[in-house]
């Protein structure tokens, strides 16, 4: 194991430290970036190369019950994309939902070293942790689905706001989660209990609990900020995918006031038009709001053409999509906590809606003024596989290429957008922001997404190439926690990263309030619920942040 490494003559992009393409040395010792190393330390020449912090994916679906169902569902998707093992790395299979080993190794081959799983039911947290352990190279964490939690909603209905806060703290601790995730808040109950219906308005009160999605969102924004979780509530708004949903998205953002809020895959929430009819683009309106509200961060959820897998806690949405082709479909209800829908999907250039979605994603990237608050994601594998990130980066960096690609898709859809008029090209520095520095900052991962002294030595080194897709597809070196995992494009080492989680303070008494509810309505024992400490192995608690 190399405990020291030095790269010389590389061009460094480290936006968090205001380093924009300077040629400088990067020194690594015991897993961290250091100022300097003794002169006799051997060096690796990185001339003609670009050095960036390891990539950080703020929103991806890589582990847990729904991911595994999606894996099992699609042997046909794995079959044509095997992932062979080596003498020291495990084999696996690819496709849109790769096996755990393939997921870790493939993220690494793109230079990513930290990935957050974006939606986990509390009852499935243990399963998720088990899978994350088998996901090599990357550090990882997960967001906990709490937005349709019946116990928490009951507290809201009863106006017990302090208990609500303690209970959120309890759940995050109990499951070793990173932050709270809301998916279509209020939508589960009509789905499960009212013949597969859904909530359609942010102010629609539920029959059962007499609270609206807005009540839920407001409570979480406040509570998560008070608890000081490192990442604000991560929100998948109501009405995902529906025409006219941009109004819901704007209302959701307004609910935050000036508190922190992260909107997931905002592309899917930026549609104009009448419900039930063809959508048009409201990227301008959404980008405008984000631009002027520094408390809001978001990731795009770009759609990329080709095979994808829809997997979401938004069960009514998955069922709606299933209606188009009537192909295989999974629904999986988790008791008292969440719904879930899964189906294979494919985005096609000639289809109006798909082309529009693709264009809106690009518009959002290009219209956003602050790259620190709009992050690169495809909502893997919903909008497309994370393996398409290099192509997406080229679309952002290369307007000629973008123009060619725009020419290949449904022109009626393009006509509904401003995309052809947007000439902006992302710089390497901006790419370094949206794919590493910004997500690390939004996650309050102070040692990641940057290369200053003391930072985690998670580093990616690319050959500088004209074709940015080629460049980002195959880093020459990937270093994880100071270990050379990829050298000269080949795996040299296996490595298993750690689990990143929060441990907010809360009043233990709350568990005695939760217990009777649990014993009445859950099907496992209270003591056997959650993720016990010994399941964590390598892990790191991300400290509380003050709001």
């Amino acid at each position: 194991m190399a405990s020291t490494l030095r790269f010389v003559n590389g061009r460094v992009y480290d936006p968090a430290n205001n380093i924009d393409g300077e040629v400088r040395d990067i020194c690594i010792k015991n897993g961290k970036v250091v100022d300097s190393l003794p002169d006799d330390t051997p060096s690796i020449d990185a001339s003609g190369m670009v050095i960036m912090p390891g990539g950080v994916d703020i929103h991806s679906h890589i582990a847990g019950p729904k991911v595994n169902l999606a894996r099992k569902l699609q042997p046909e998707d794995h079959r044509h994309d095997p992932h062979p093992g080596t003498n020291f790395t495990r084999s696996g299979s690819g496709g849109t939902v790769p096996s755990t080993f393939a997921t870790g190794y493939r993220y690494a081959t793109l230079g990513y070293t930290t990935v957050m799983e974006a939606a986990v039911t509390p009852i499935g947290a243990l399963h998720t942790v088990e899978e994350l352990h088998d996901t090599p190279v990357i550090d990882k964490g997960f967001y906990l689905l709490l937005g349709n939690n019946i116990y928490l909603q009951t507290l809201l209905k009863e106006g017990r706001h302090d208990e609500f806060k303690q209970a959120v703290g309890w759940w995050i601790n109990k499951t070793k989660a990173y932050t709270a995730k809301l998916v279509n808040p209020g939508g589960d109950e009509p789905w499960k209990g009212k013949r597969n219906s859904n909530v359609t308005d942010i102010d629609e009160k539920s029959d059962l609990l007499n609270i609206s999605p807005r009540d839920v969102i407001e409570a979480f924004v406040k509570t998560v900020n008070e608890l000081g979780l490192p990442h604000p509530p991560h929100i998948h708004c109501n009405n995902l995918g529906h025409s006219g949903n941009y109004k819901t998205t704007l209302e959701t953002m307004k609910t935050a006031g000036d508190l922190r809020m992260h909107l997931a895959h905002i592309q899917f929430h930026s549609y104009g038009g009448e419900p039930g009819k063809n959508p048009d683009s409201k990227a301008v309106e959404i980008a405008e709001y984000v631009n002027t509200h520094p408390n809001i961060t978001c990731d795009v959820g770009q759609v990329m053409f080709g095979k994808s897998t829809i997997m979401t806690a938004d069960a009514p949405l998955a069922y709606l999509l299933r209606g188009f082709k009537k192909g295989k479909w999974v629904n999986a209800d988790a008791e008292c906590e969440s719904g879930c829908g899964i189906l294979p999907f494919s985005y096609q250039e000639h289809v109006f809606t798909h082309a529009l979605q693709w264009a809106i994603g690009l518009e959002l990237f290009l219209l956003s003024e602050d790259p620190w608050r709009i992050m690169l994601s495809t909502d893997h594998p919903n909008g497309g596989s994370f393996m398409s990130y290099p192509k997406l980066i080229r679309l952002l960096m290369d307007k000629e290429f973008r123009k060619e690609e725009i020419g290949k898709v449904n022109q009626k859809a393009i006509a509904k957008t401003n995309l052809p008029s947007l000439d902006r090209e992302y710089t390497l520095n901006e790419i370094a922001i949206i794919s590493r520095a910004a997500p690390a900052r939004a996650l309050n991962l102070k040692h990641k997404g940057q290369l200053g002294p003391g930072a985690d030595a998670d580093i990616t080194i690319y050959d500088d190439q004209e074709d940015k897709e080629m460049m980002f597809n195959a880093p020459r070196y990937v270093i994880k926690s100071g270990e050379m995992v990829i050298e000269d494009h080949e795996f040299r080492n296996d490595y298993y990263g750690k689990i990143l989680h929060s441990a907010p303070e809360f009043d233990e008494e709350i568990s005695e309030d939760i217990r009777p509810f649990f014993e009445k309505y859950y099907s496992i024992e209270f003591e056997n619920y959650g993720v016990a400490d010994h399941y964590l192995h390598e892990h790191e608690i991300i400290p509380r942040v003050s709001s």
Binding site: N68, L73, P82, P84, S91, G124, R195, N331, S523, E525
Partner: protein
């Protein structure tokens, strides 16, 4: 009460797929025996009472006692030298042990399959065709007002299954069983029948036809009254059932091996999954296979997340390939493809088709089991292991994919499956590396530390 007694609360019974985790075990630590298992069913009580410490050698080679290290070396040599080694079993062990078994198969480029293939494997294939509308058992408890069992006999195979589905009071089922309609569909009147409000007896082997007719009725298509001659079920009974299914608030279809093991196999399961899917046009409807042995669901999950496929996975080419009928154990044995076998916590020699058992007798078999079995008796290398959930900690998955941690009751002098499989894995990896001439720090240094997985 014996002097040295321990009470283990919230312990988990790993006998059947219900994986009930509300056991209260009374353990006599001197005698190393569980004297009482509160809350356990008849199967669970036997499971806890009978798993005492046997007096058997920890390892045997060709029927003779052997030191553990020697047996591990022999097992590793057999596996590394085989060209088509198969790994099978894994339902009665922890996920931790299952991970080791998949790793071994990956390293030796063998084939891994679990008891799923002869249990709900066909439902797994059906899942890959149709998908599945499903839920955790708690949601059934809280919401299901129509509960249908098809081709299964839970009263005998999963005696406490009804505590999730029939008897409990739930959030929207305040009066328990009174608020539910229970339907039992089977070829015979089983001991489960008394629980049912409606009993439908279908002619043996005609489940698919009945399911298909129900699907047609749900979709509003006409069905010839002659259907009664074919299935033994009158058309009026079917239309009545269809109306109940469409009009319930939350319906559930549980199904057993009366579908998967009979003519039609995966298409029977598929027809049922499709029926549940169809019903979602009208109301919320879910389906769930009533899975068998303790942690067979864990095996499905572990093999899926590590390879992408749930069972019947082959690594000959250095990556996973899936093909039931080709890489499943009954087939690799019946065809005579396998040239060595690693059998973990299962006993194919006592319940496989005769032709498969005959081949098993011809090849070197390595077995891990808590008891002496027909398989351990014909093994070249036989390891005696401790019992999961009773002696060994770890994780198991309930039939609805909910993971549950184990709380062992007392220590066993025998090692757990995970421990032995880990030792075999470590050794096969060393042997493979030396076989292909790989040297250098990277590979070998990692063997010990990071191939822990």
């Amino acid at each position: 009460m014996a002097e040295n007694t321990r009470i283990v609360k919230n312990a988990t019974c790993t006998f059947c797929g219900c994986v009930c985790d509300d056991m209260e075990l009374t353990v006599d630590l001197d005698k190393k025996v569980i004297t009482k298992a509160k809350n356990a069913c008849v199967l669970g009580r036997a499971w806890f009472a009978e798993h005492q410490i046997d007096d058997r050698p920890v390892a045997m080679i060709d029927g003779k006692e052997a030191p553990l290290e020697e047996a591990i070396e022999e097992a590793a040599q057999v596996l590394v030298n085989a060209k088509f080694p198969i790994t099978y079993g894994l339902s009665d062990t922890t996920c931790e042990a299952q991970k080791q078994a998949v790793a071994i198969s990956d390293i030796i480029r063998g084939t891994i399959d679990t008891t799923t293939s002869v249990c709900h494997g066909p439902s797994g294939l059906a899942f890959q065709d149709i998908g599945e509308s499903t839920s955790t058992l708690g949601e059934v408890k809280n919401r299901a007002d129509l509960v249908i069992y098809w081709g299964g006999n839970p009263a005998e195979s999963h005696p406490r299954h009804f505590r999730y589905s029939v008897t409990p009071k739930g959030m929207f089922i305040p009066n328990g069983k009174k608020d539910r309609t229970v339907v039992m569909i089977d070829v015979r009147k089983t001991p489960s029948a008394p629980v049912a409000d409606i009993l439908i007896q279908v002619k043996p082997g005609k489940d698919f036809e009945l399911l298909w007719a129900l699907r047609a009725l749900v979709k509003g298509r006409k069905v010839d009254p002659q259907i009664q001659v074919m299935t033994g079920v009158p058309l009026e009974t079917m239309t009545d059932l269809v109306e109940r299914m469409k009009n319930c608030r939350f319906g559930v279809l549980f199904f057993g091996m009366g579908l998967t093991m009979t003519r039609g196999r995966h298409f029977n399961s598929g027809a049922l999954l499709a029926l549940a899917t169809d019903l979602n046009e009208f109301t919320h409807f879910v389906a769930k296979p009533v899975r068998g042995h303790g942690n067979v669901t864990g095996a499905d999950n572990v093999v899926s997340w590590q390879t992408g496929y749930p069972f019947g996975v082959n690594f000959s080419r250095g990556f996973p390939r899936f093909n039931p009928g080709e890489f499943t154990t009954v087939d690799t044995l019946t065809r005579g493809d396998a040239d060595a076998a690693l059998i973990i916590a299962s006993d194919p020699a006592s319940n496989f088709p005769k032709a498969a058992i005959e081949h098993l007798k011809k090849i070197p078999v390595i077995s891990l089991d808590t008891k002496e079995t027909s398989t351990s008796k014909l093994s070249h290398v036989a390891f005696a292991t401790s019992t999961y959930g009773i002696n060994t900690a770890g994780t198991v998955y309930r039939m609805d994919d909910v993971p549950i941690p184990l709380r062992p009751a007392f220590e066993s002098p025998y090692p757990g499956d995970e421990e032995i499989l880990f030792a075999i894995k470590k050794r096969v990896h060393e042997l493979i590396l030396s076989k292909c001439g790989a040297t250098g720090a990277t590979g070998e240094a990692r063997v010990a530390s990071k191939l822990m997985l």
